[in-house]
Amino acid sequence: MSLLLLIEQVLNGLQFGVMLFLMAAGLTLIFGVMGLINLAHGSLYMVGAFAAAAVAGATGSFLLALMASLTAAAVAGALIELLVIRRLYDRDHLDQVLATFALILIFSEGTRWVFGSFPLFLDIPAALSGPVTLPGGIQYPAYRLLIIAVGLVIAFGLFQLIARTRIGIRIRAGESDREMIAALGVDISRLYTIVFALGAALAGLAGALVGAIQSVQVGMGEPVLILAFVVIVIGGIGSIKGAFVGALLVGLTDTLGGVLLPGVFGTFMEASAATAIGSSLASMSIYILMAGVLLFRPTGLYGTA
């Protein structure tokens, strides 16, 4: 394996990780602040992608499509918080899982009802299609570089929001003591709605950004949701910093595992068996990583017990 290929794969892992962070950030905030397991987070990702595809199809503008994804997912998030989720805060996790699983089904069938069963078209803007040549002669798709950049900017913005703004203080307060912050006169239910909508908007943005290079179809959110749960478990539930580190770890492990493991097995095995075993093990690699992290830090890397 040449160094250039390795660097390219590291970039791929980074891009994947940054995308996962957008998903995991919302999930971990919602779990941290409200103690809610939201399985429907993947549906908000899908809502973002479909909104983007619809708007891009109607207007042809990718920027408008991204705004639409943010808005649609935030509105959908706020709506389900007001209508459904609000009733679940005091219930146990099993009830939450049941209700949000029902939301997945409702969103999936609702989306199919509106948009049909066939995947939608959403393409990257012409200006960003094709590769750029990076220093060292690496050819890398321009759009993926943009995703890395957008993800890092949003991560930075989110850290600033949590660390330096009043709403951030309230979110952190809500994480550490829900009853106390309510007793201090903060409108806790409004805070919950805002946090939920914020998490939803990030998921929707991720859906739109990724939808442009993948397929916009019903059920696209669930595979990502599973990875996002792995990320927040590794990072420590409720921690934005943990979500960031966890997402990058998962992204890099998944990408590099898939690339390197078949080669490693190939050194002492017959080629096609090495491919089969290597890729099977690569699919497990992030779960092995999660198990390893939990073994040494049962609350995750940045979690508090």
Binding site: L120, I124, S215, Q217
Partner: protein, 382 residues
Amino acid sequence: MKLRSLMLAAGLAALASVGLADGHAGKVKVGMITTLSGGGAGLGIDVRDGFLLATKMAGNENLEVVVEDDQRKPEIAVQLADKMIQSEKVDIMTGIIWSNLAMAVVPAATAQGKFYISPNAGPSALAGKGCHPLYFNVAWQNDNLHEAAGAYANDAGYENSFILAPNYPAGQDALTGYKRMYGGALAGEIYTKLGQTDYAAEIAQIRASGADSVFFFLPGGMGISFLKQYAGSGVDLPVVGPAFSFDQGILQAVGDAALGVKNTSQWNKDIDNAANKAFVEGFQAEYGRLPSLYASQGYDAANLILSAMAEADVSDADAFRAALAAAKFDSVRGDFKFGSNQHPVQDFYVREVIKEGDVFTNKIISASLTDHADAYAAECSY
């Protein structure tokens, strides 16, 4: 249009549930289990629509169809099959799209004396040692389209292919099928994760491998993702694949990235015969969209059953089986016959993705394999 097809299906289902008790001479009840919700729903909907179109065009009142949604889950498919066999008392079953679901349902159904006509899934296990006198496949054996792609790669002069497929039985069948026909060397062979949507790592490996062509089998959404990312990566090696990543349902979602790509299929809408013409026109008139190969398979499955009904009574299993095996129907593929293991012996074509007006579709550019049977027929004995 969608609403109309739904109503048609609902109407037929309602009809079926109040239908006369079975046992009346000439009546045939078909139980269709297919995928109508979830990620792979487009395929099942096309099979169902093609099937119902054929029954509607035939206007045969002795054929009842019950349609159920398996949600692409084997356990649900098994429950539905039990229900259809025990309480609906169907005579014939059909509809399953995915090989893993077919493996869960078909052996049990045929063991209970029900005919099974597969409109899509053709796992090697059911074509070879596990074949059954009551099991017919009207589409293809899983390896076939990949074998056709391998044969095309030879014709095109490719000598160093990079091949990839998801790591599950049909994916392994795919690479096996391609390698069976392809005579050149392999620049690389990768199994991706099933349901994977990001192929940046694989595309980087393709770029570094020095291959002269790429063969991939990534059905449904996986193929959309791969093609879009491949087009954006700047790698410009020729790509070839089976029709599953280039069917009518997903081409619009891939867009320009698919333009000019060669793919192999047993059917296309421009095959020149009267049956195909009637099918393509009828499908567009009924549903307002172009048919896919899945729709053509559903349509052929219904016509196969209708042709057997004209020859024999379903209660006489031996006679009905012989009538099915004779395949006396006008297939949209033109010549069609069953081999010794009741899988098709048919022609395969190379298609190219083109744009007709605003719509992306396929056009046949050459023949790939003629009168091609599958590699497992010899292992089958009844």
